[in-house]
């Protein structure tokens, strides 16, 4: 068995999850991540200066990549409807402003959101599997998933079982993702690694491969409920993983940083990271998403600044 980027046949890939020991050997055989080097690379890319036409292009792309999210205990149907309306037409004054990629809510809010998004082409993502901790029995997680899909969600954001992962029960964590994928049917599956709890970049790379091998369509950094949430270096490591996974298997997996991305500057830094790590192929909303709530308003403010030459102000974008 060569290491990951060296290329694995489909048969070899199927065999790596054949036994707990074999799977462990595979994940631990992935090339390590040097923390200092990865952080240095991310910091260097953060110095890229994205101005004028490049900025305008990046802002529109970033808007189209937003998973506009509300995940609060206090969410109401009214708030969800307002969010959906905003997702359809982020800037009511400008019909050319693109829609967001998806609305992301709790399962209980899926029926309301499905109703509001009908005919818009905007995806409806629901967190599931006892988000954010994942601390529930498997049948409950599967029921959670089925309910969300039945109510109209076409994307499921599940959480990795960090208990299994961190204690080295990789195959159990893998099997759980496979089961959720099956329960979700045709729904797109995003697997949240909760990188803030994984602590090391080596773990992030292993968890990314575990999720991709189990069938994840997207790998996502964070729930947004744990600090730190998304960071540039973590996203860099995940992008390298999807790049290597495609080189090995031919299957393309998307990446979604979520949590803590609040400004246009942040978003543009992520787009630069994507551009210079995996290239154009991932610079599209079905391959890269931002899990965010307040980011959209800053994108809109900067967008109108570029168009008019003046800053408006927080009263000129809608409250979430």
């Amino acid at each position: 068995m060569t290491n990951a980027a060296g290329g694995l046949s489909v048969v070899e890939l199927a065999s790596v999850t054949g036994s707990a020991a074999g799977f462990r050997a595979f994940l631990h055989g992935l090339p390590g991540v040097d923390q200092v080097g990865a952080e240095q690379r991310a910091a260097m890319l953060a110095t890229r200066s994205i101005k004028t036409t490049a900025k305008a292009w990046g802002i529109d792309l970033a808007i189209r990549m937003v998973d506009l999210t509300t995940l609060e205990g206090a969410d109401t149907p009214g708030k969800v409807r307002a969010l959906c309306a905003k997702g359809r037409r982020p800037d009511p004054a400008d019909p050319d402003c693109p829609s967001v990629a998806a609305i992301c809510v709790y399962p209980a809010m899926v029926p309301t959101a499905a109703e509001s998004l009908k005919g818009s082409g905007i995806h409806l993502a629901s967190v599931a599997t006892a988000f954010p901790s994942g601390q529930a029995p498997l049948p409950v997680k599967l029921a959670d998933t089925r309910a969300a899909v039945a109510a109209g969600a076409d994307e499921i954001d599940m959480v990795l079982n960090r208990g299994d992962f961190l204690s080295g029960r990789y195959l159990a964590a893998f099997d759980e993702i496979v089961a959720v994928k099956e329960a979700g049917g045709d729904a797109h599956l995003k697997v949240i690694l909760e990188t803030g709890e994984l602590a090391t970049y080596d773990n992030v790379r292993r968890a990314a491969w575990l999720a991709m091998l189990a069938g994840a369509d997207f790998i996502k950094t964070s729930t947004g409920k744990v600090s730190p949430a998304a960071t540039l270096p973590v996203t860099l490591v995940m992008l390298e993983a999807v790049r290597d996974f495609r080189a090995s298997t031919g299957r393309t997996v998307g990446v979604k940083p979520a949590g803590g991305i609040r400004t246009t500057k942040d978003a543009l830094r992520y787009l630069v990271l994507v551009n210079e790590t995996v290239g154009d192929d991932w610079l599209r909303p079905d391959r890269f998403r931002f899990g965010a709530s307040t980011l959209l308003n800053d994108l809109l403010l900067q967008r109108s600044k570029l168009a008019t030459g003046r800053y408006s102000g927080p009263d000129y974008v809608t409250l979430d």
């Binding site: 390590g32 200092v36 080097g37 990865a38 200066s49 101005k51 490049a54 292009w57 154009d280 610079l283």
Partner: protein, 474 residues
Amino acid sequence: MPFEYAPAPESPSIVDIQSSYGLFVNGEFTDPIDGERFKTINPASEDVLAEVVAAGPADVDAAVAAARRAYENVWRDLTGRDRAKYLYRLARLIQERARELAVLESIDNGKPIRESRDVDLPLVAAHFFYYAGWADKLRYAGFGETPLGVAAQVIPWNFPLLMLAWKIAPALAAGNTVVLKPAETTPLTALLFAQLCQQAELPPGVVNIVTGAGETGRLLVEHPGVDKVAFTGSTEVGRAIARSVAGTRKRLTLELGGKAANIVFDDAPIDQAVEGIVNGIFFNQGHVCCAGSRLLVQESVAEEVLDSLKRRMARLRVGDPLDKNTDIGAINSAAQLSRIRSLSEIGSQEGAQRWSPPCELPERGFWFAPTIFTGVSQAHRIAREEIFGPVLSVLTFRTPAEAVEKANNTPYGLSAGVWTEKGSRILAIADRLRAGVVWANTFNRFDPTSPFGGYKESGYGREGGRHGLEGYLA
């Protein structure tokens, strides 16, 4: 759809380049006595930037005499604490005017503004701060407390201001005065530094800057009035200086060429190793004496590393040094460009396979695409001679012993890199590499606290750290 970065140029208007500069002698800019004027150009556009002086014998005499007077009348008798005040003041001024200095460095040298802004200038300031701290603690350094006198310092064009800092800061901290000659293609930041010396009210004559080419340098190092010679540059010139200094009272430190091995083992963090390879050879257009110009990669991962390296190289942005998104700027001079070209031609003729990513080079100015040679053997000239450009020779090895053998099989010994996730291997290999600096899982990282210098034909003496004081104290 590709993400095209719009041009993001740093404005050159922050820096005021005069049409003509004199020599900086005894605290003032002076017209040459017997020197002639020549032009310095912007290597990215070939536009003339300014006229500077090639100092003649009488000019060098005057500068050395000024340094001598300043040494005997002021500087050597100042307390360490007072010398430190001046050095701290210079360090702060460098920070305050960092943007101006960085822009000028990029204009005169051709290096990308990202590097002059994020690497050169912070290190320049850090060097002055660091040696300012030593000025009143010399007795604890262990090299005596007596300065040598007048130091003649000759520096190269690859890091004009940083090399100036490496030379001037420890010399002044130890109580010496200096006459410094910047390289003929990059005199402008040294002349701006001279203005900073005036702004800092440094006593006249403590720092003197004489511009010029090799002949001025020869006059300076052979001048009977200097007590210390410090040179950074080519091994060839270093040899000539060593010969001329032999038999005199002058103390000598030399920091010369290199042909560093960057050794990548099969258990290395591959993505970061690729970054390190890129940083090792393409940083500053490869105009780095400690550049990792020989990649030694373990056979079992060679293909994978090369694929990743090529993919990464295709992302390098070559062009306008003042664009904030440029990774690789201009080659410093026509002469250097022709040397890089001819050695690369020889590489192809000797049978190595040459590869460069597709990249459009500007029409005017001096440019060379990042290049790698595979199928290189130890016998090839591109594996033995310092190219001093963005050209990497790739060799493979099978066992750690072979890696060490190949890494050490060079007349040079300035630096080396080791990439492995295995800590014990780092220590074992570093122990056997004959190189002054060994980087582990990184490359081309510098810090004023860390001594730097070579083995064998890479020179002798150390710069940086406590060791850097040794060359300036008796």
